[in-house]
Amino acid sequence: MKKHENYRELVLRLAKTDFKLRYHGSVLGYVWAILKPLLMFTILNFVFSTLFHLGGVNDPYYPLELLTGLLLFNFFAEGTMTGMTSLVNKAQLVTKIYVPRWTIVLGSTMNALFVFGMNLIVLVFFFFIYHKVPSIGGIIMFLIYAILLYVLIIAFSFLTSSLYVRFRDLSMIWEVLLTVLMYAAPIVYPLALVPEKFRQVFLLNPLAFIINYSKQGLIGNQFTNFWHFIILIFSIAIVFVISVLVFRKYEKRVAELI
C-alpha cells in the first residue's frame, strides 16, 4: 500500500482544524484556552493560600509554584483526554478515507501543545509581576521537562486511543483518575509537606516527578540527581515503545469497530 507523502503538513492541518472546531461558536473563542487555567488558579490560590495558609512568609512564591504546576498538569490532562478520544472523534476520517491513523492521534494532542504554549506567555507575565527571574538552567530544565511530558502524552494517547474504540468507559475512568493524579502530584502543596519516608515512592509517579522538579528548577533553582533524570527518560522511552506496539496491533480493526 502506498503511503501518504506529506505527514508534517497533514498533522499540522489536523491540529489546526481541531483548534478551530474546539473554540468556534464561543464568544471569547481562543481566550478560553488561557482563561480556563487562570480561573482554576484563582480558585485554588484563594483556597490554599488564604484559607489553608500555604505560602505566605515562608513561601512567598507559592502562587508561582501553583501556576507552574497547574499549567503542566493542565497540559497533561488535556493532551491525554483529547488523544484518547481522537480516533472516535474523527470517525469520519477513519472510516471514509485512508489517513495514517497515528497522524490523527498526534494532531489531536498538538492542540494541547498550542494551549500550553499560549499559557506559557501568561506564566512569564506572572513571573514578571512577582519580580522573580529564574536561572538559565532552571528555564532549560523546565523546557526539557515540558518536552518529556509531551512525549508521555503522545505515548499515553497511542496506548489508549485504539483501546478507547473498544471500551468507551475508558474516558470516564480516566477523568476520575486525572483528579486523583492532580492531588497525587505536588501542585497545590509543596513536596516538603509530604512525609519524608514517602517522598521517594511519591516521586516514582512521573507526573509528580516532572512537576516537582520543573517548579524547583524555575523557582528554587534546585535540580534533580543526574541518575534519577536518566531513569525518568529511560522509563518514558520504554512506555513510548510499548504504546506504539499496542497501537500498531490494535489500529488495524479500528475502522470496523468505530
Partner: protein, 264 residues
Amino acid sequence: MKKENKEKNNIAISVKNVSKQFFIPHDKSTTLKGAFVNIFKKKNIESFYALKDISFEIKKGEFFGIIGRNGSGKSTLLKILAGVYTADGGEVEVNGFISPFLELGIGFNPELSGRDNIYLNATVLGLTEKEIDEKFDSIVAFSELERFIDQKIKNYSSGMSLRLAFSVAIHANREILLMDEVLAVGDSNFQKKCLREFNHYKEIGKTIILVTHDVDTVKEYCDKVMLVRNGEIEMIGSPEEVSIKYVKQNILDENDILKKEEII
C-alpha cells in the same frame, strides 16, 4: 525478464486471495463491565465472510466496473483497496496513489465550513497548502457551490455535500480513483458531468474503479466489469456479457422470492 517487468508495471491494482471476515457479536460489550462479565459467558459471536478468496487485476488506464447486489461485498472490497480495512489474508498491491470516494463522501466534518473541509480533505488526499490554494477556485466551481462555501457542511443537502466531495476527490489528481455509488445521489446533470470527468481521466491514462448498480453506465463507460455475489467473484468480462448475466441473475432471484411467497 524484461517483458515480465513491463507487464508488472502495467498493473494498477493486483488482489490475490483476499478474504475479509466480520464478526457479528449478538450481545456486544462496549463497556469494561460488559467485557468482564462476558469473560465467563460463552461468547456469542457469529462470523461471516464479506469476501471469500478474491483475486483479480486491474490494468493501468482501465475503467473498471464492479457491480453486484446490496451486501455482495463490493464496498468492503473498495474499503480494503483504499486501506480503510485491513484484509484478513491475501495480498493487495496498489501501484500509485488512490483517491477514494466511499459511502458518498470523503470524510467531511459537518461542523466545519465547506472551505475548511476542502482544505482538510485535500490535505488528507496529499495536496500541499499551495496546491490547494491554486486549485481552490476550480474545486468550488466544479461543485457549483460558490455561494455556500463558507457555510457549515451540516447545513448542506446530501446532493451538495456529494458534489463537493466528488470535486475534491477528482482534484486530488491521483493515479487511481475509487468511486463508490457516486452517481446514486446526484441529479442527471451532475451525473453527466461526473462521467465526462471520468472520460477525461481515462484519456490521460488514469485508472478508475466504479462501483454501481446501473447496468447502462457500465455498458457505456467501463472497459471491463466484475460481477460480485455473496463475497465471491461471479465473473469478470466485457460489459455486455457481465450485464446480461447480472440482469438474468436479478430476474432469477426475483423469481425465487416470488416462488417462496407462493409456497407460503
